[in-house]
Symmetry: C2
């Protein structure tokens, strides 16, 4: 039975809603740690495949499965997390701890705190290029940050249980305000997708304009592959991030444009000493982000 | 003796001026292919280390060493290539074939065709993060493009000898006009350095503005590492590329800004369908550049 106080992860089953990369990986790691896992999925075909892969001890499409879970992890895409089906909301036990894994926190926190008294907004920062029921893998979270964004309303026992979950799968627990999280991920993840996408488009259009469309492709090397990787990634995900974190992304783009314009001016005005100093600064900055 | 006609690489020693990454790697591969290599370096300490590493059969600081070479590769940094010491110019045999490895071609071609009748502008597109006399390695050029940018004045026998050299070390030979080369490398290599550098600066400044300087560093993951790699690279090289290819870099930045501004407008105006279409286009574009 769920207990509002010092419940442990091994006392009751953990529920996972959605068995994509994050949900599936969590299911594998939790079971390996001896935790009972029940997973709710949308489609029968997903349920079948998830059972074959052993992503949870119980997999079903019926939300009733969540009854008796002490902790439920909403491992849904951002758009479904922000606009969940009413039957999911109705099926969440009021005394269970609910957390999410969304990559934007302020809008999630605002809505879900209205919807559930024991909601904890969180974001495990782990990912691969893979998605879907085949993507889940062991040890995805090991050594990666798992950020929670509690506020004054957050239930502290609920927060402690989510921390226990994160640490059980080897993640590094962090806490910060939701707005700080959203601004930070805009700067290091969501805005860079657009920066990288524009680079692919510029190489394409610029190559055509110079009658060198084939040449730009022949000469592109590992440097271009690195810089264009996230811009050529999952389009749905890139759009969702911009949509759900719009203000912070626009603010981050403002910072970005300012820096790029300054660098462009140095090239235009041939201030090579100043440009080299700026690039030396960048060389010194980068290790701090690795 | 150098012969102006159908000389082969095995008939006379090949001269290499400079034993950094490109010069040193070329020295190793040519010797392995049975070619005699003589290398001219600037400092006695470099000569000593190059001899220890076996980068050439003969290494010296005296330009007289180049006498008797049929083909001489100028493996110098761009600034020294564009402003070579007079004693180097004086020591180049008039009937030898001279080529370079510079990453910008139009200004190199203009100057060197005035200075030497058998100059061939070329650019092996191979690199690692390493530089200096310790950087040279076997098989650096294997499968990589080696671009030559001949014009109407270029000696065709000289061009054929440089092609023989490129193919001997396993490179893929390409020819294009110097301006097309410079525009292409601006788009896929030189401009992206500034795009990537501005990203590091924006994450730093934006993080400070949001009082989240530590958080942006804690949350930065492999995506940010990829996108920021070339912006945090060698500052001298980044500056030299912008300086020696200024017009094409500014033009490429123009293309880039246009694309980024369009993407920013889609976010601002919340045209999520259109944004997703653009990102889908990017996803389709990228494999063409790999």
């Amino acid at each position: 039975m769920p207990s509002p106080g010092g419940a442990g992860l091994h006392d009751c089953p953990v529920g996972i809603v959605g068995l994509g990369l994050i949900g599936g990986s969590l299911g594998l790691d939790l079971q390996a740690a001896g935790v009972q896992v029940r997973a709710l999925v949308h489609r029968h075909s997903t349920a079948e495949r998830a059972r074959e892969r052993g992503l949870a001890q119980t997999v079903d499409t019926n939300p009733e499965l969540l009854q008796g879970c002490d902790l439920i992890v909403l491992a849904l895409p951002l758009d479904r997390l922000l606009d969940p089906p009413p039957e999911l909301l109705a099926a969440l036990p009021r005394d269970a701890v609910i957390t999410d894994v969304g990559s934007v926190k302020q809008p999630v926190l605002e809505r879900w705190q209205r919807w559930h008294p024991r909601f904890v907004a969180s974001h495990p920062m782990a990912g691969t290029a893979e998605a879907g029921v085949e993507a889940g893998q062991r040890n995805l979270f090991r050594g990666r940050p798992w950020v929670a964004t509690p506020n004054g309303q957050t239930d502290t026992a609920a927060l402690a249980l989510v921390q226990q979950l994160a640490e059980l799968v080897g993640a590094a627990w962090l806490q910060c305000p939701a707005t700080a999280h959203d601004q930070a991920v805009a700067l290091i993840s969501h805005m860079p997708v657009l920066v990288s996408a524009a680079l692919l488009e510029a190489a394409d259009r610029g190559g055509e304009a110079a009658a060198a469309a084939t040449l730009v492709r022949q000469l592109a090397s590992s440097g271009f592959a690195d810089t264009s990787r996230i811009g050529g990634g999952n389009p749905e995900l890139g759009t969702l991030m911009a949509r759900c974190n719009r203000d912070a992304v626009l603010q981050a783009l403002g910072h970005y444009r300012q820096q790029l314009e300054q660098l462009e001016t140095l090239v235009e005005q041939e201030h090579w000493g100043a440009l080299q100093q700026r690039l030396e600064g960048c060389q010194q900055l980068r290790p701090g982000f690795l």
